[in-house]
């Protein structure tokens, strides 16, 4: 195995050298990949934005505005066409999901009506809570075209207008929580 004696000097020296080389190698890899990582994250957000707001020709990411609320961060992405605001995508969250954090991208029209809602991330139960994903069920469709001023963003059980996902009240409530927060941020952000 080792031909080098295990005295104090050798041990510290070896560990030191290995750690330094490792840190240097990682520093290099980090430099190399950092741009790609940021780009990948941007791509993901942009895809979500494209799904929820009408056609735009600006770079919403560049005009993004962050608002701190309820212990978290919401981001407003204004979508414009020919300089006119056609919609605002709001990246929102709720910590009340069955398995914790749920992140949604809510697209609002300039008058505050919900255009479409996309899911950015969640860890809900497959077959139950994950039905909030438009690919799995029509749950999110009921939000489209509704204005939160008249459409109560809570489940019917809680006196609202939202039809919950069967057997997934908790997820449904969290979803409403996130959409409502997005609306609050929209009004606060002043991009109406």
């Amino acid at each position: 195995m080792a031909n080098v004696e295990s005295n104090f000097k050798n041990m510290t020296l070896t560990l030191l050298i290995i750690s330094l080389v490792a840190s240097a190698a990682l520093g290099l890899v980090h430099q190399f990949t950092n741009e790609a990582i940021v780009k990948a994250q941007m791509l993901k957000i942009n895809s979500a934005i494209e799904v929820v707001v009408p056609e735009f020709d600006n770079q919403p990411y560049e005009e993004a505005k962050t608002i701190e609320m309820d212990g978290g961060e919401l981001t407003l992405f204004p979508a414009k066409k020919d300089g006119e605001l056609v919609g605002t995508a709001v990246k929102t969250f709720s910590m009340n999901g069955f398995a914790g954090l749920i992140e949604l991208m809510v697209g609002f029209l300039p008058d505050g009506t919900i255009n479409k809602v996309a899911v950015v991330s969640h860890k809900e139960t497959p077959g139950l809570g994950d039905k909030m994903d438009p690919k799995k069920s029509n749950f999110s469709v009921q939000f489209e075209g509704k204005n939160p001023e008249s459409f109560k963003l809570s489940v019917v059980k809680d006196g609202g207008n939202v039809d919950a996902i069967t057997a997934s009240t908790i997820t449904s409530r969290a979803y409403c929580d996130a959409v409502e927060r997005a609306y609050k941020a929209l009004k606060e952000g002043g991009v109406q």
Binding site: S19, A22, G27, A99
Partner: protein
């Protein structure tokens, strides 16, 4: 109140072994006797709480300010390895009996994914130091709980007639699966 939720969630709803799949190797390896399970649970709890504190401080006061967050894996695992060494030395002095009983499983705490897992989760979940420690301790209790329940079952299983193909690891995994199913029943008691 917040803390109670963290504790209940960590022990029952998101049990580290039965729901998050962390700490499986020692779970299978040590759970054949109730006594060793308790000793292991104690040692792991101690290491997790200490590791959570040290890694938290390192992340927030060294790694993040210097912009070297990518060094997290290396730094965290080295901290854990060092802590486990410390625990070994202390245990040898304080309780040679327990030290002998745990045998090779003591240094193996270093590779217990639950320890590194918890350290990383505390950072990911954005807990503050106190919340992190509570979360770590509760997770460790959940680990111990799963371990001891399994040990209790296995001590009984050893006396019964397990089909030949299922003997050893398969029957333990199957039991764990049923336990996991049972623990799923806790879902929803937190909010």
């Amino acid at each position: 109140m917040e803390y109670i939720l963290i504790i209940i969630a960590a022990i029952f709803v998101n049990n580290v072994v039965l729901a998050q799949f962390l700490g499986i190797c020692p779970f299978i390896g040590v759970s054949n006797k109730i006594e060793t399970s308790m000793g292991m649970a104690g040692a792991v709890t101690f290491v997790i709480v200490l590791a959570t504190i040290v890694t938290f401080l390192l992340q927030h006061y060294v790694l993040n300010p210097l912009g070297i967050a990518y060094m997290q894996t290396i730094v965290f695992i080295l901290v854990i390895a060092a802590l486990v060494q410390m625990v070994e030395i202390i245990l040898k002095k304080l309780s040679p009996v327990l030290y002998q009983a745990l045998g090779i499983f003591l240094p193996l705490i270093t590779t217990n994914c639950a320890v590194l897992g918890v350290a990383i989760l505390v950072i990911k979940k954005n807990y503050n130091l106190l919340e992190g420690v509570v979360f770590g301790a509760a997770t460790a209790i959940g680990f111990g709980l799963a371990l001891i329940i399994m040990a209790g079952i296995r001590e009984q299983l050893a006396l019964s007639n397990v089909p030949k193909g299922m003997r050893g690891v398969p029957i333990v995994l199957l039991t764990a699966g049923i336990l996991a199913l049972a623990f799923m029943g806790f879902a929803g008691i937190v909010k």
